[in-house]
């Protein structure tokens, strides 16, 4: 029996939907909910984790993020200005830096800072433990991404702004600091917030630096807790805490972007 194209499209669409709903229902029916609850949503384990997962793990995650973001932002600003410079060696350096660290896995950079440098420089160790080593390593990586964002922001400020500032007698650095950068940063708050969210997640890589009970961030904390309790609930808890931090931020970015789109 021949179907008209329209009928055939409708049949295919209905079939797809049936498969989707069936798969969903089967999973729900077949799953052993009691077991899942015991292993993933175990209230006893949750209670056992509770003070430390927030007071130590979540706190460390945020501290590492803040450290790497602030260091990365400063470095990114310098790199962005180098890339915008008329002096060729600066520009080349910034370009190579950005290509290098965007092209490498963050884990490589973290290992380099934690273990590569001590080997290369004969026992040289950065002071300040995980916080400093981790912030430097992640900051160096984040700077490569944020430098491009800042550069785009600076270029988005019309040339006339600099000209107006200069014609009022401002030096080029004054015009940059008082007129161009404030406008550029307003433009790039959404992408910078995205970068912040990425960094929150990347702090989970810092476990390779080795941790003590007090320096664990969320992922490492959850994993160790999982090993001792032989239960997957810590992972669920860590996931929820991550989402509690990242979801409001991504929501905020969407709102800022919408507002920017309206005002334009």
């Amino acid at each position: 029996m021949a179907l008209k194209p329209r009928q055939r499209r409708r049949l295919i669409r209905t079939l797809m939907y049936v498969v989707f709903v069936a798969g969903f229902l089967v999973t729900i029916i077949v799953a052993d909910w009691a077991r899942i609850q015991r292993l993933f949503f175990n209230v006893d384990v949750m209670q056992e984790m509770l003070p430390d997962v927030l007071a130590i793990a979540a706190r460390n995650t945020l501290v590492y993020t803040a450290g790497s973001f602030s260091f990365g932002l400063v470095l990114a600003l310098i790199l962005a200005l180098m890339k915008l410079s008329t002096i060729t060696p600066y520009r080349l350096f910034a370009t190579w830096y950005i290509e290098l660290f965007r092209g490498l896995p963050a884990l490589i950079t973290i290992i380099l800072f934690g273990f590569g440098l001590p080997i290369a420089f004969d026992g040289f160790r950065l002071p300040g433990g995980t916080l400093v080593t981790g912030s430097l390593a992640l900051g160096v990586v984040a700077a490569a991404y944020m430098a491009e964002t800042i550069r785009a922001g600076v270029l988005a400020v019309p040339r006339g702004q600099t000209e107006a500032a200069r014609s009022l007698g401002m030096s080029s650095s004054r015009a940059l600091g008082s007129i161009v950068l404030p406008q550029a940063f307003r433009i790039i708050i959404p992408p910078l917030t995205n970068e912040f969210v990425l960094l929150i997640k990347d702090t989970s890589l810092l476990f390779v630096l080795g941790t003590t009970p007090l320096t664990k961030e969320l992922t490492k904390f959850a994993r160790d807790f999982m090993t001792t309790t032989r239960n997957a609930t810590p992972l669920t808890v860590a996931a929820i805490v991550y989402l509690l931090i990242t979801l409001p931020l991504t929501y905020l970015v969407r709102r800022l972007e919408r507002r920017a789109a309206v005002s334009r």
């Binding site: 019309p158 006339g160 702004q161 000209e163 107006a164 500032a165 200069r166 014609s167 009022l168 007698g169 401002m170 030096s171 004054r174 008082s178 007129i179 404030p182 406008q183 307003r186 005002s263």
Partner: protein, 246 residues
């Protein structure tokens, strides 16, 4: 007496293209000079060379006797004496009007915030927009923005003002208010003004001298009557006929 602006044998290349092919002229103190000519004739480039927004390829520009084209010249300091008004206003959108008017006063001239605020109010009064001093530029009409831009330049107490097609980006009904403010500067303050414009009416009424440029050279200059009413050259006649047909 030294001229406010003295331009000697000014050449400007953009790459291979010679935009200014040897310009000589002077603007005396308290004089209003209008530069007219077809687009691409180099008028804006000339104006932008005067405060070194463009670097001249060769030639000399003296600002009240000081050579602004000298590599050792303190260009930032000289620019505080030269107010500049742009076609696109170029107000700072992230600052309210008051901060637009005070930021360079405090940071460049090192005036106190109180003094800067006072000057800002005085110049806003002059351009007739004192009630808009707390607004952000985006909330103002084009004509109002341009008047604020004039006030921003005036707040630095410049000795002279450069206007780069100040009404070309405006809707026709908003041009008059800006020209009125400029007329006031010329007549009441005796401001030295170099104005690149397409407003022949303004040039006729306000200018002491009109300079007609074409193809990177000054083709004609003289009083408004001489240049606008009785041009000597074909090129000027053709241009004026075209402008007046509009």
């Amino acid at each position: 007496m030294t001229s406010a602006i003295e331009i000697v044998d000014l050449h400007k290349y953009f790459g291979e293209l010679e935009v200014l092919k040897g310009i000589d002229f002077e603007v005396a103190e308290r004089e209003v000079v209008c530069v007219i000519g077809p687009s691409g004739s180099g008028k804006s480039t000339l104006l932008r060379c005067v405060n070194r927004l463009e670097d001249p390829t060769s030639g000399t520009i003296l600002i009240e006797g000081e050579d602004i084209t000298d590599p050792d010249a303190d260009v930032d300091r000289l620019r505080t004496r030269i107010g500049m008004v742009f076609q696109q206003f170029n107000l700072f959108p992230h600052l309210d009007v008051l901060r637009n008017l005070t930021i360079a006063q405090t940071k460049v001239l090192k005036r106190s915030q109180d003094e800067a605020n006072e000057v800002a109010r005085a110049v806003m009064e002059r351009v007739g927009l004192l009630d808009k001093i707390d607004e952000y530029p985006i909330r103002l009409s084009g004509g109002q923005q341009q008047r604020v831009a004039i006030a921003r330049a005036l707040a630095m107490n410049p000795d002279m003002m450069l206007f780069d097609e100040p009404t070309s980006a405006l809707d026709p009904e908003l041009i008059g208010e800006v020209l009125d403010v400029m007329r006031g500067l010329a007549h009441e303050l005796g401001m030295t003004m170099l104005v690149v414009t397409h407003e022949m009416g303004f040039a006729r009424d306000v200018a002491d001298r009109v300079v007609f440029m074409d193809g990177g050279v000054v083709v004609e200059e003289g009083t408004p009557e001489e240049v606008l009413a009785d041009p000597k050259t074909d090129r000027a006649r053709r241009f004026l006929r075209m402008v007046q047909e509009k």
